[in-house]
């Protein structure tokens, strides 16, 4: 076990070795940078551990050989709880990966995240990119935006070719396609389960919804209290979700997210409602060519909208033990180099910076290209509307799963969501 610095217990030996090697090899000609010390990054991206250890941190250490960085992820479902507990107790890492909107805003308001207004390089991000990590008045930014994720549908090209199917553009074509797959009977038409609930809400409701509520327009109207979830466009989303049930695999109500991924990557299901982050998982597991299409349009020829969700950012713990080194790292995350590495090592996470980045993965590039044709929006439950109890996002998980399970009608689902919101959200009343 290699021990580096004063608090070696924080480091895993492997990371320490990598960091030391990278420092020795790469740091030699870089002269002595002012910053040194150790940084711990809190994150929920445990899928990305290897990339951070093997690529991102060594790249950072080329510039700052004296800063030892440990990427310390927690499973996504535990991240918020564990982070809050650690922050309360003053044991959280120096750098904190930020969830979008209210969760991070609350951390800032309680004095746990530092203001980054004066961080050199923060100007590399547009106001839209920063919108998920600024105070309501827009005056203070507290996290450096890292990436957004885009929703759409992935499909198995071999199955499509075998059955002579084409990418659908409208909901009607989409249903015809699903019916064809159903008739053929050899494949599960669509891989989605409701056991984990979020899959139904995120890959279902938030994926197809923007075409119904016209993206940002509808999202802002909800916040302003002009639209309600009981309006026809929202009920229509739930109706569309309910219509998916016959096309899902047997026992989909006990099917978890990993089950869905396996059904698709093993070639047993033809279509997969996706988030762009799935691409990197399928790159290593699927042995067939994937295609992608954006959410089908309810009416032919209408404008198209996609969910291009500001998903992940990184900020500094206000109680960081090593603020200078933390700021140095944050500054580095604003550079073109970081944007390039992040977008291409983790295909499906799209940099939010103004730097021009070439995405090499063809499927990820396809997702990215929809930004040109369609108007992007973010998930409608994230900004402001999840500040109270009952929590709108959690409620959406619950009712979306129930609508697909057939235990709740679309109308009742919409009513339940609206009632929950009405109970605490003032502009709605």
């Amino acid at each position: 076990m290699v021990n580096v610095g004063r608090a070696p217990s924080r480091l895993s030996g492997r990371i320490a070795r990598i960091a030391v090697t990278a420092g020795l090899v790469a740091g030699w000609p870089a002269l002595s940078q002012a910053q040194s010390g150790e940084l711990v990054i809190e994150s929920w991206r445990n899928d990305d551990l290897a990339i951070w250890q093997d690529v991102i941190i060594p790249a950072f250490n080329k510039k700052y050989p004296d800063i030892t960085v440990t990427f310390s992820p927690t499973a996504p479902t535990e991240y918020n709880a564990a982070l809050n507990a650690k922050i309360e107790a003053g044991t959280a890492g120096d750098l904190i990966t930020c969830r979008p909107f209210d969760a991070s805003l609350a951390l800032y308001q309680r004095g746990h995240l530092a203001s980054l207004n004066d961080l050199p390089g923060i100007e590399n991000f547009s106001d839209v990119a920063k919108s998920a990590w600024v105070t309501d008045d827009g005056a203070t930014v507290f996290c450096v935006p890292m990436a957004s994720v885009i929703h759409g549908f992935l499909y198995n090209q071999e199955i499509f070719e075998e059955l002579g199917l084409a990418e659908p553009t409208t909901v009607a074509e989409f249903h015809a396609l699903l019916d064809r797959l159903q008739e053929d009977g050899n494949y599960i038409p669509m891989a989605m389960g409701t056991a984990d609930q979020w899959e139904a809400a995120t890959m279902g409701f938030q994926n197809i919804g923007p075409n119904y509520w016209r993206g940002e327009e509808g999202r802002r109207a909800l916040i302003a209290g002009e639209d309600k979830f009981t309006d026809p466009e929202y009920v229509a989303v739930f109706q569309e979700l309910a219509s998916w049930a016959p096309y899902l695999g047997d026992g989909y109500s006990a099917q978890t997210y990993p089950d869905s991924q396996n059904l698709f990557s093993l070639g047993r299901a033809a279509i997969y409602p996706a988030g762009s982050w799935d691409i990197s998982v399928f790159r290593t597991q699927a042995d067939f060519e994937m295609g992608a299409f954006p959410p089908p349009l309810p009416e032919a020829g209408q404008d198209c909208f996609i969910s291009d969700h500001t998903d992940i950012a990184i900020g500094m713990n206000a109680a960081a033990k090593n603020p200078d080194a933390a700021r140095a790292f944050l500054e580095w995350t604003t550079t073109a180099e970081f944007a390039e590495i992040y977008s291409n090592q983790l295909p499906g996470f799209f940099s939010l910076s103004k730097h021009a980045v070439t995405v090499e993965d063809p499927t990820a590039a396809e997702f990215l290209s929809w930004r040109e044709q369609c108007q992007p929006t973010i998930r409608n439950s994230y900004q402001i509307l999840s500040r109270g109890e009952p929590n709108l996002e959690n409620e959406l998980w619950n009712v979306s799963a129930q609508v697909i399970n057939g235990t709740l009608t679309p109308e009742a689902a919409a009513q339940q969501i609206q009632d929950g919101l009405d109970s605490w959200y003032k502009p709605q009343q």
Partner: protein
């Protein structure tokens, strides 16, 4: 208090004068008690009291806490937004417990009765294998059963098909009506070893002459069990029940490992432990509410305490009388 120091017993009423005259301050008692009391007080009682204190506070948007009296409890019981989930979790927890009582204890008693039969071969092997699941981590058990019951993997369906019952298979963990029962049965499957062993031990402790007398009178093993053994082991069954009660109302890991903190579908598997976790630490976009979480935890404590009190003051007393 059955055992007394000889000197103390002799001293009788004049204890204080005896101590002053004949014995120095009993330092050894302090030495014996101090380590346990210290560790227990610092790492269990103090944090607990701190949480109870926390339940009397509320926090504003900036995270500043102010004293709020019992308002958290009032909200929890009366505000429909909180009372709904609270009663739901309590009800589910009760079902969770009742399934354990109805399934785990009878199976445990039956297995123990079989294991304690005279001249049983392979007794050792059975005991070892039957207790195995109890040794494994709840997290591992959760994942294993999730895999087995997964409609995608098809193990559960395959097994039912082998005995011609494949039509019975369903996505049990995913349906509102069956998820909680399924999880309870998984928990029963794992922990049945504990009642089995405790009752087995109690059965072994029954004096042979009682059983022999019954056998001489012409009773079958079945009759011996029902008429002689079962009444004698009732206190153990009672102890097992109260351990089960405490364990069940503290449960968290299994539900969390299989269904996550939102305990779906539609909160049908939500129990006190998951409600507490979700409230205390928050979940996804829902922010943690430590003060409300502390109130839930305090109520959990009271619920458990009430159950234990009822057991000690009503049931155990009656049972002892019965035993006599």
């Amino acid at each position: 208090m059955t055992s007394l120091l000889a000197e103390n017993a002799a001293a009788g009423a004049g204890r204080t004068s005896v101590r002053r005259r004949r014995r120095p301050f009993p330092w050894h008692i302090v030495v014996f008690l101090a380590p346990a009391t210290l560790v227990y007080t610092v790492f269990s009682v103090y944090p607990l009291l701190d949480s109870m204190r926390l339940s009397l506070f509320a926090a504003d948007a900036a995270g500043v806490r102010h004293f709020a009296g019992l308002s958290n409890y009032v909200t929890l019981i009366t505000d429909p937004r909180w009372a709904g989930p609270f009663w739901n979790a309590l009800g589910n927890n009760l079902v969770f417990f009742l399934i354990h009582m109805a399934v785990q204890n009878p199976i445990g008693i039956a297995l123990a009765a079989l294991l304690s039969l005279p001249r049983l071969r392979f007794r050792q092997t059975y005991r070892t294998l039957l207790f195995t699941p109890t040794m494994l981590s709840v997290v591992i058990i959760g994942f294993v059963w999730q895999l087995i019951l997964s409609p995608v993997w098809g193990v559960g369906k395959g097994i039912l098909a082998a005995i011609g019952l494949s039509s019975l298979f369903g996505p049990w963990l995913g349906q509102e009506g069956t998820a909680l029962i399924t999880l309870s049965l998984i928990s029963v499957w794992q922990f049945v070893g504990i009642p089995m062993m405790l009752i087995y031990a109690a059965l072994l402790n029954i004096p042979d002459d009682l059983v022999d007398a019954a056998v001489v009178d012409g009773a079958t093993q079945m009759q011996v069990f029902w008429r002689v053994k079962l009444p004698l082991i009732l206190p153990t069954v009672g102890a097992v029940s109260i351990l089960t009660y405490v364990g069940n109302f503290n449960a968290f890991d299994l539900i969390y490992a299989v269904k996550g903190a939102l305990a779906g579908p539609n909160f049908s598997t939500d129990i006190m432990g998951t409600l507490f976790y979700r409230t205390f630490f928050g979940y996804q976009l829902q922010l943690g509410n430590p003060t409300m979480g502390a109130a839930i935890a305090t109520l959990m404590f009271l619920i458990i305490l009430t159950g234990v009190m009822i057991y000690f003051f009503v049931i155990q007393r009656r049972m002892q009388r019965y035993e006599l």
